[in-house]
């Protein structure tokens, strides 16, 4: 009796687990099935690198969106990574452990704020600031980069903090015992020892930034044009899918799925990169 119940439980868990995994696989297959034909028909190069996106005219070049996504993401990294790493260093090395224990969960909580709220703040506060002080329409690549930079902070801080916290105390002691100051110990030894974890945190944050949609739609301004300055409006890959999916049919619809494929590949690459780096660290230590 007991053994049968045990078996049953196992079976049920197996089915549930398989359905989770298979839905992932199905989604991936579906996106690729819908998205690849147009890339093949048009030629991958024309799809990726031509600048005309006019669905009515049958022109599907996503280069402006790729550029917009890259600019927004790079901008977010330039803002979020230094802040996040500095925060992680500060929490680990310069304040008592009790502060870390309180502040870190609070920061992780920031990850739970809906992105529409970040976007709202961007529209109401940040965009006018940029418009009035730097010029341009305000809703811009810069605005999107700043908002995303803040949004990725929890990811960067949380993983970097873990990485720095995992550096053996003996390195810290060894450096200080040689007459190093706290800061010298940090940048000459501890950051080097925690390097792989910190890089992984940046890569994962990058994945988040590329994939983020709602906040970017709200603050980036949504012009499908090759941007020339960070003060220009632009539309990212994700924003394009979200905007046009309701009205898209036929080839247009295929093109949106193809954008999905591009995003999928970028994020897969980033994530596996991060995994490899993190694994490299654990096998070394």
């Amino acid at each position: 009796m007991k053994a049968r119940a045990e078996k049953l439980a196992q079976r049920i868990l197996l089915v549930i687990a398989l359905s989770a995994i298979s839905s992932l696989i199905l989604i991936a297959l579906f996106i690729f099935k819908e998205g690849t034909p147009i890339m093949v028909k048009m030629g991958l190069r024309r799809f990726l690198f031509s600048s005309e996106w006019e669905p009515q005219a049958g022109l599907f070049g996503i280069y402006p969106m790729i550029v917009a996504s890259l600019w927004v993401t790079l901008g977010a990294m330039l803002i979020g990574a230094p802040l996040g790493i500095a925060g992680a260093i500060f929490l680990n090395e310069f304040v008592p452990k009790t502060v870390l224990r309180i502040v870190k969960p609070a920061i992780e909580l920031l990850a739970g704020i809906p992105s529409v709220v970040y976007g709202f703040i961007g529209v109401m506060v940040l965009a006018p600031l940029i418009r009035n002080h730097l010029g341009g329409p305000g809703l811009s690549i810069l605005a999107a980069a700043v908002i995303l930079g803040v949004m990725i902070l929890p990811t960067v801080i949380s993983i970097s903090t873990d990485a720095i916290g995992a550096v053996p105390n003996s390195y810290r002691e060894g450096a200080l015992a040689l007459g190093a100051t706290r800061w010298q110990a940090v940048h000459m030894v501890i950051l080097k020892a925690a390097r792989s974890g910190i890089i992984a945190s940046i890569i994962l944050a990058m994945g988040r930034a590329i994939g983020e949609t709602m906040a970017v739609i709200m603050v980036a301004g949504n012009t499908v044009k090759l941007p020339h300055s960070v003060l220009n409006s632009a539309r990212t890959l994700t924003a394009t899918i979200a905007f046009e999916m309701a009205s898209a049919t036929g080839r247009h619809r295929e093109a949106l799925f193809a954008i999905g494929v591009v995003l999928f590949v970028i994020i897969m690459l980033l994530n596996s990169f991060a995994t490899v780096i993190l694994r490299g660290r654990t096998t070394r230590a």
Partner: protein, 253 residues
């Protein structure tokens, strides 16, 4: 022993919160001698050692009364530059702890910390330090390799070389051989006897034979008290205190 007193503890007490880890310890350590601190785990010998380079400062809630005089100056007095102090008083840890850098960068670390960065200035110091730690022949062709790839005993001697590069006058050793096998231990002990010609060495050890082999003076500690200290040969053959006798003959606890 009317030798130059390099280090003097005067009525030194140390508290972790309300717990007294050191109780009014007084002791003198002579220049260019090896002083060993022995005693059971938790007796305060490592804590006493760490008062010398103020590593206990890193632990929150530590309070100290009394004095630690190095060259006649209280290192807990106002105006002590702790990083400067730690350059003068180097430390070798229980587990070899080379940094995850190359062999060369490990030895150069203390120099870089002190602001010496030019490669041509650093190179001769690196060679001299590695030679002094009897490591040069083994690593001279692998200076760029990660220090963590060296065998443990070489790692420990690398940690010693790393200290010697900054030319300290006192070397603290916290059970430096406990992670090493007997042959490697022998090499490090021999090295210590050589280093004693130039440096004042204080070693904490669990290993009474080691204390007997290499030290000139031994202090026996128990529960934060310095029970007895004196010339090693005398202390080991003719301990005055009953508790020292018990410990040395293995009747402790």
């Amino acid at each position: 022993m009317s030798l130059n007193a390099k280090i003097r503890f005067v009525q030194l007490s140390l508290f972790y919160g309300a717990f007294a880890a050191l109780k009014r310890v007084s002791m003198t350590m002579a220049e260019r001698h090896i002083t060993a601190l022995i005693g059971p785990s938790g007796c305060g010998k490592s804590t006493l050692l760490r008062t010398l380079n103020r590593m206990n400062d890193l632990i929150s809630g530590v309070r100290i009364t009394g004095q630690v005089l190095v060259d006649g100056k209280n290192i807990y007095g106002p105006g002590t530059d702790v990083t400067e102090l730690r350059k003068r008083i180097g430390m070798v840890f229980q587990r070899p702890n080379p940094f995850p850098l190359s062999v060369r960068d490990n030895v150069a670390f203390g120099l870089r910390v002190a602001g010496l960065t030019s490669r041509s200035d650093v190179a001769p110091i690196i060679e001299r330090s590695l030679r002094a730690a009897w490591l040069w022949d083994q690593v001279k062709d692998r200076l760029e390799q990660p220090a963590l790839d060296l065998p443990l005993d070489q790692q420990q001697r690398l940690c010693i070389a790393r200290l010697l590069a900054v030319e300290p006058d006192i070397i603290l050793m916290d059970e430096p051989c406990s992670a090493l096998d007997p042959i490697a231990t022998g090499k490090v002990e021999e090295l210590m006897l050589e280093l004693k010609k130039q440096y004042t060495i204080v070693i904490v050890t669990h290993n009474m034979q080691q204390a007997a082999r290499i030290s000139d003076v031994t202090g026996y500690m128990l529960l934060g008290d310095m029970i007895e200290c004196g010339e090693t040969a005398v202390l080991f053959t003719n301990p005055q205190d009953r508790r020292t006798q018990d410990y040395l003959s293995g009747r402790y606890g």
